[in-house]
């Protein structure tokens, strides 16, 4: 491979980025910095909550500013050390990444406030808030990076912080759940690393924009379909898609409720984000070739999730299966692959980030108020906490996909997209899964909220809690308001998701932002 002689001083360094471009790295820098600060003040546990919540509020503002900038000016890129793009590690935020980062920041803030009530002093001394900061560093980094090996590194960052959060409390069932979670997720990221290694061997570059523009030329010569299949398997493990979903119901109900809420909202969505980024943006032709397999896996994921939710007595495990059913919907969007379907998947991801977190918080609060997690022992919550019950009802409707809440619009978009390409069976799976989820969640409402508390309370029931705390009511109320708002006024987000999907399907603007000169080598 002959490289033309270059003027090193001029060619290898970019011009200094505009001050506003620093927004791309600030979310990650803020979270890593705060994580370090919280480690340093680990002896003064009282300070943790305040610092973390101030930091997460700032994170929401930064991500909102980034989204605004990306939405007005197009994708923003910043390269570490100002190295010329294919060589330096690039952070590139497009609409898809920025909007996911904002959604993640919002639910992290909600979880941070909820944790004030849910995590006791010993949990904070163990490091809940530092782990939360590092988890958010990993999640934000994964959403904003433009380099595929860097994406792997952020996966590992969020994975190791999630281990810390998962075993917070060190109870035997947490260790049991954590062992399965850790081994299977580690195998998933290792598969991702294998795929990255092959990708580098084929392309000689790790920059996503560079890969996107070189893929067309290498399609004849290199086994890109095999490579894409490897990526799909790795991300399917991370996203808990059938048949590699079994780690999720084994572990997500074991940690503290706020940790389950964070995981249910964030981690599987990082897998879906990466799946969309790699298959839709980098390897669209290969995605088309593998679409039938992805579609079958999507349909089965939806049904397994819905049937699993119907069969659970523990409400936290039930919510875990609802998360899995949602993953199936997003995979369906990836399988169909038209811009309308991808925008449906993006909408679903945003809806799912907020709704699944809120559902776990509802499950946690219901368990605290009722003194047990088992549906067979819960009851009378409506009488005890009417406002909480009202919010839960709205969230149940949203998770089932019923109008007028946020679950409706992505389902409509996905249904329409699947009928447009004639995949009636995929549409049927979406409808059937939504119907079964409606049954499962309606039964939760019927049993836990409406009926009177069963008289001989089954064993293992803790003393039932009293009224709802503001630290619970505030995040839950805000998340419910978001769900209602998006349900009633879907236009702005529909438009945003549409533009994000178009940006993924035609990544010219993304490439342009990384290579402003157009043809650097």
């Amino acid at each position: 491979m002959a490289t033309p002689a270059v003027d090193l001083s001029a060619a290898l360094i970019l011009a200094a980025p505009a001050p506003a471009d620093w927004l791309v790295v600030l979310p990650v820098a803020l979270m890593i910095g705060l994580g370090a600060v919280l480690m340093m003040v680990r002896k003064s546990v009282r300070l943790h909550g305040g610092i973390a919540i101030a930091g997460l509020t700032l994170l929401v503002l930064l991500d909102a500013a980034l989204l605004w900038r990306v939405s007005v000016h197009g994708p923003v890129t910043m390269v570490m050390g100002r190295w010329l793009p294919p060589f330096g590690i690039a952070f590139t935020a497009d609409l898809f990444g920025a909007v996911m980062a904002l959604a993640a920041a919002i639910i992290a803030l909600a979880a941070g406030i909820f944790a004030l009530a849910d995590i006791d002093a010993s949990g904070r001394r163990y490091g809940f808030y530092p782990f939360l900061m590092l988890l958010m560093a990993g999640v934000s980094g994964a959403f904003l990076t433009g380099d595929i090996f860097n994406l792997y590194v952020w996966f590992e960052v969020l994975l190791i912080s999630s281990f810390g959060l998962l075993i917070l409390g060190s109870q035997p069932e947490q260790i049991d759940g954590a062992l399965k979670y850790a081994v299977l997720n580690l195998i998933g990221t290792t598969l991702f690393l294998i795929a990255v290694g092959y990708l580098y061997a084929i392309f000689g570059t790790l920059n996503m924009a560079d890969i996107a523009r070189k893929a067309a030329g290498l399609r004849e010569a290199a086994p890109l379909t095999t490579l894409t299949a490897l990526f799909i398997l790795a991300f399917a493990i991370k996203a808990a898609a059938f048949p590699v979903n079994f780690w999720l119901p084994a572990s997500y109900h074991t940690p503290r409720v706020v940790v389950s809420a964070l995981f249910g909202g964030l981690l599987t969505k990082v897998g879906i984000y990466s799946l969309i980024r790699v298959t839709v943006m980098l390897f669209p032709v290969e995605r088309e070739a593998l679409s039938l397999i992805v579609a079958i896996s999507a349909a089965l994921t939806m049904l397994v999730g819905a049937l699993g939710a119907l069969a659970q007595n523990d409400i936290r495990r039930l919510v875990g299966y609802v998360v899995i059913a949602g993953i199936g919907n997003m995979m369906a969007g990836v399988a169909i692959g038209t811009p309308a379907a991808v925008s449906g998947a993006i909408l679903y991801a945003l809806h799912s980030v907020v709704t699944m977190t809120a559902l776990y918080l509802v499950a946690g609060e219901a368990g605290r108020l009722g003194g047990t997690w088992a549906l067979s022992g819960l009851g009378g919550l409506y009488r005890k906490a009417p406002w909480f019950s009202g919010a839960s009802f709205l969230l149940f409707l949203a998770a089932s996909g019923l109008p007028p809440l946020s679950g409706l619009w992505p389902k409509v978009a996905l249904l329409k997209a699947s009928l447009d390409i004639g995949a009636w069976w995929l549409a049927a799976a979406i409808l059937l899964s939504a119907f079964l989820i409606t049954l499962a969640l309606a039964r939760v409402f019927l049993l836990a909220f409406w009926r009177p508390r069963p008289d001989p309370v089954p064993e293992a029931a803790a003393p039932a809690g009293t009224s709802v705390d503001w630290r619970v009511a505030l995040p839950l109320g805000c998340l419910t308001a978001l769900v209602v708002l998006f349900g009633l006024l879907p236009e702005p987000l529909l438009d945003l998701a549409q533009r994000a999907a178009e940006g993924l399907g035609e990544p010219a603007a993304y490439i342009q932002s990384v290579f402003p000169g157009g043809t650097a080598r």
């Binding site: 002959a2 490289t3 002689a5 270059v6 090996f149 590194v153 590992e156 994975l159 190791i160 281990f163 075993i167 060190s170 035997p172 069932e173 947490q174 260790i175 049991d176 759940g177 954590a178 062992l179 399965k180 850790a182 081994v183 580690l186 195998i187 290792t190 690393l193 294998i194 990255v196 290694g197 092959y198 580098y200 061997a201 119901p249 084994a250 572990s251 109900h253 074991t254 069969a311 659970q312 007595n313 523990d314 088992a374 549906l375 067979s376 039964r443 019927l446 049993l447 009926r451």
Partner: protein, 125 residues
């Protein structure tokens, strides 16, 4: 050289998968460690295997001399080694704690989080 390494990597992967499919957590752990090393060797081989050609651009030339190995995959391996080492340390402690708390290293017996005869939700109201 690359062909030999490919066979070696294949053996590593086969051994790792065999160990991971076991029921005993310690074997699974060893399998995961072996898997990490298999991937490292894979990345290493993908970056070209050569002897005695350092990846340094000689005086008066703009590019590496032909046959030099690509140093970037080696940097990637370094990152991956550090990460997999920390994960291995964590998993080691987790496995030990699991054995202490659950009293078994057989994954079939680890049913604390998913009890074997879990109750179904109430059918009636």
């Amino acid at each position: 050289m690359e062909a030999l390494f490919s066979i070696l990597i294949g053996l590593f992967f086969a051994g790792a998968i065999y160990l991971i499919l076991s029921k005993s957590t310690v074997r699974i752990l060893l399998g995961v460690a072996l898997l990490g090393n298999a991937v490292n060797l894979l990345l290493f081989t993908a970056g070209r295997l050569t002897r005695e050609v350092p990846p340094i651009i000689p005086v008066g030339m703009d590019v590496l001399s032909p046959g030099a190995a690509n140093p970037l995959p080696q940097a990637l391996i370094l990152t991956a080694i550090v990460i997999s080492f920390s994960f291995f340390a964590f998993l080691l402690v987790l496995t030990y704690r699991a054995y202490q708390e659950l009293g078994t290293d057989d994954t079939d017996e680890m049913r604390l989080a998913e009890p074997r005869n879990e109750q179904l939700p109430p059918m009636g109201y």
